[in-house]
Amino acid sequence: MTKRTRLFLAVASGILVVGLGSGLVAAYVGGFQNLTLIGGDGPAELAYVPADSRIVAYADIRDVMGSEVRRKLSAFDQGANDGASKFKEQTGIDLETDIDYVVASTSGMSEPEQGKPPLVLAKGRFDEVRIEGLIRDQGGVVEDYKGARLIVADERKLALVFLEPGLVAIGAADAVRQSIDTKAAGSSVKGNDEVMRLVRDIDDGDAWVVARFDALTGGRLPDAVASQLPPINWLSARGFINSGVEGQLRVETRDETSAKNLQDVVRGFMALGRLQTGQHPEIVEFLNSVQLSGDGKTVSLSFSLPPEMIDALGALRAQRPRPRTTPAAPKPDAAPAL
């Protein structure tokens, strides 16, 4: 090998090594957002989610809160942060910085239609003493459940437990207890192949959800719509949020014929949408970004909301007159004389 050959090999290898090294450092600093590409299995907190879960959802709160979209939406709606401020005041949790991500699920025992909240597992930084004090001040009780300190505010609606440092489970008391049992028994949703197959396909999104269709709709669809829809088994969706929003919705039908029928239905709705929104270029642009595709029993719909469209939607929202709270008329001291 001549000297110039060695030189070339060294320079080319150097570019590769320096590039990979720089990228690795930058990705490490930024938190390796898409590691799932090399064989993700969903967040580790799925180990607390029961195997019979019918809805599993995830949201990277840090990414969403730090996104340009969120900043724009906050600017359009100044009052939106009031709730977050009050929440921070009460719990010491800053939604923008203290929560990294949340995993939510509903299983057979905590269906939303029964008025019970879903099980929410939040990963972040929490002031455990302050949160416990707050709930106890409001009449909550603390019980020991298999070595964990379960704080119950309302048996049906709110209980929470700190499962690990920086990981809190919130939900109905029985759902929270079940999450402890699930982890101890190793019988989590990670063993549910049907759910995990769908999770693996979408868990690189900033937010995603996998749900049995009937669990998601809960029989609340109008009959006219429900009768038009082919039988759907599973639904999954993911979104990437930064300066715009990119999303993908995937539906698994019972068979291939149903998938084709569903595609026809969606095409029909898209055509109808185009007809009805001709006057609104920003919505037409959105409809143009929608791509419909199908593969076997799966129907996929992807869309993109570019930054310009977010601006347009925000401007529309800003133009909408806010409901004014008119001061109540002073009550007359006495009935007016007729």
């Binding site: 090998m1 720089s22 930058a26 957002q33 310009e308």
Partner: protein, 279 residues
Amino acid sequence: MTAPPPAQSTSFVTGAWRVFGMSIGEMLWSRRTIFMALVVGSPVLVALVARIVQSAGIAPLRVNGVQVDAVSMFGAMIWILFLSFIVPVLGVFYGTSLIADEVDDKTITYLFTRPVRRGAVVVGKYMAYLLCTALVVLPSVMIVYFLMVPFGQIPASFISLVVDLGVLGLGLAAYGALFALVGAALRRPLIIGLVFVFGWELVTLLLPGYLKRLTLAYYLQPLVPHAMPTGDTVSLLQGALFREPPSVAMSLGCLALAIVASLVLAVRVAEKREYILEQ
């Protein structure tokens, strides 16, 4: 005293290593290098222009009036320039030349009379091809990535880059092995290679049925972490209507099989075939 047969004088690995060391320099500083530099330099140039345009506050690429983000542009370049053009073309030009060039230049006699097995010559040259092309293509991808993707988007896209590098390396290995076999076995291998890449692969990927399984692109495409660009009718047909992509495991398995089978066959052909030099 008769000379010992070449196979016994030098082991296969040692022979391949010696041929590798000799061929890498030949390959790098041949006339083809100019072609390779042009082919691989063009995406870098495109990325540089895009970066300059972007720095001036102008969107380098818009689709339906919507600005295309940097990572999507990089993904489109991987699909359109690297995977669909550069990798197959380098595979054809270099792969077919491994043996065919020695035949055309009438220098194969010098190689085959050395105390090295003919198969080791093929393997050594193939390894030289792989290193040479990989060390030209992959740094080019790296430069394009850092030119196009803003620093803030690296955490979200870095793993895609690593996968891209792996896929392109695998593509170079697969196309190179296949065309090394073609070069060792057939006359006019370059024409056959170009017909395969720009005829057979393009057409069969558009058709419904099983013929697409006899292409390398069919197994490489599912490994790409970026969405396939669907700008024109051809890509729309390829991407949406007739796409039945194999699983990642199947793609990797089939590509590995293609590489090993092609190399083994190329070695066998080189050892059995009698190369007749035209006078």
